[in-house]
Symmetry: C2
Subunit: 292 residues, 2 copies
């Protein structure tokens, strides 16, 4: 009744680890695995026992044979129900025939996604924090959608928050750890710029880390949490609108580097200008893909 995604995921992780161990050696202890993989010992134990049954290790944890591909669980089995619902829900939401204002039917979604209504319900509650669905008075949910208005409202707040965070950033003490992190991120930008032709996909991850670093400087939970919304939108947006990706990312890197230089300069005027310039083009990109 609880789904054993954690077990399956852990099992696969152990297999990966075993693939790099020499045959005949004694593998790491339960405690060690527990610490490294983050799963509880109970789960590790269950996995080790299955490894033993499958003849991969002996009862005293000697590696008997290297694991093969068919030993591991399929990737989809390693996702918890809630993760699956999230994915399916995002896809459902992005489907063209969905209209803002539509009522969401829990039972219907439950059937479509192959989970119980309680699963849907819990997810809708969690998801409501992203403001793309709304609880209607009394009962039921209403789909608000990822519309042009949504994007505009999102960016209005993003701009306020990021601007304030950037100014808080330059106001930090010179020995604040954030400066070190910024230095590292700056180097990563340089490295990525040099390899942009082959590695342009890596930008989205770097983008997130950079903006989160800036937003964290606000030390304000509302500002920091708001980035989760942006993050979600961009995550799915990147998967969805691939046109010009390389070109867009190349331009964004240049903007980021300007922005980073401005932060190091400690000059509020430069910071504001470069931040605004970057957010402006980020908004343009998003609006373009929302189609309007």
């Amino acid at each position: 009744m609880k789904g054993d995604a954690v077990f399956k995921k852990t099992f696969n992780q152990i297999l990966e680890y075993l693939a790099e161990q020499p045959l005949g050696d004694r593998i790491a202890s339960e405690t060690t695995l527990h610490q490294h993989l983050g799963a509880s010992r109970t789960t590790i134990r269950k996995a080790l026992s299955k490894l033993n049954v499958n003849g991969i290790i002996s009862p005293d944890r000697i590696l008997l044979r290297l694991p093969a591909t068919q030993d591991s669980f399929d990737r989809t089995e390693t996702l918890s129900t809630s993760t699956q619902v999230e994915k399916k829900f995002m896809e459902w939401m992005l489907r063209a025939d969905r209209k803002p204002g539509d009522v969401i039917n829990e039972l219907d979604l439950a059937r479509q996604f192959g989970v119980s209504t309680s699963g849907i319900r819990e997810y809708l509650n969690r998801f409501s924090r992203f403001r793309m669905i709304e609880r209607r008075t009394g009962s039921g949910w209403c789909f608000m959608g990822f519309t042009r208005e949504f994007a505009l409202e999102l960016f209005e707040v993003r701009e306020m928050f990021e601007m304030r965070s950037a100014l808080a950033f330059v106001a930090q003490r010179a020995d604040a750890p954030a400066w070190k992190s910024l230095k590292i991120i700056q180097k990563e930008h340089l490295a990525l710029q040099n390899d942009i032709v082959t590695r342009y996909h890596d930008f989205s991850d770097l983008d997130e880390r950079f903006h989160r670093l800036v937003n964290d400087a606000s030390h304000n939970r509302f500002i920091v949490d708001f980035y989760d919304v942006i993050s979600l939108i961009f995550h799915y947006h990147y998967q969805w609108n691939k046109s010009d990706e390389a070109e867009r990312n190349r331009a964004a890197i240049v903007e980021h580097m300007n922005y980073i230089d401005a932060l190091f300069s400690l000059d509020p005027v430069r910071v504001e200008a470069s931040c605004r310039a970057h957010l402006y083009s980020a908004r343009k990109t998003l609006l373009a893909s929302v189609g309007a």
Copy 2:
């Protein structure tokens, strides 16, 4: 398994309505009651049938006797589980021995509140949007509490949002309906000011309506929704810290009236000054009660 709070509440509402009807008359139809009370006809029907059984109305809806106090359900029975959980949870949270960082135990809460774990769980998910509790990585919840930092962060964002909304407010067209609403609210302030000695409790409601009106002018769902957080905090805060209430409210009314005048003046400089002044003292009040 669903709780019949809606039925009980509706039943009480009908009793109230009947108390004002003349004996021997035919009371309103199912359809009419359904439209006026907002409950479904199914529920109205069930209530009418009980009224009949209790001898208050005849099968053809003639009022036979006036309802007495003991006919109605107790007020606590008319609250849905989720509403009850909300109340209990707020009380739980405000208890002195609770410390920021504490882990929340669902089972424990469920037992304390007398509801199922699923009920707690759903509520925690919904409540997380107020940022006073956080989902810990993996599982479980962490209580963050209503601390001084929380109040400061809340007001930092509130100030940004309200300032921007106020400026959007004065930028509205002269025939926007919000101006009319503001006029009405202005009059209510005047009326309340004259009766402040006896009616100072009514301020909190007026306060909320005024600020919501201003925030709505932003036409930004993130800004508008953020006011829910403020609203919740103030709702419980008012119940909790009664010291100087009359005096505080009197001062706040003056500030509001300044602020309203500034909005009517359309002068951004005046708006900004009066808005900031008001928020500043609102913050001071809240911080005082958070004890630091």
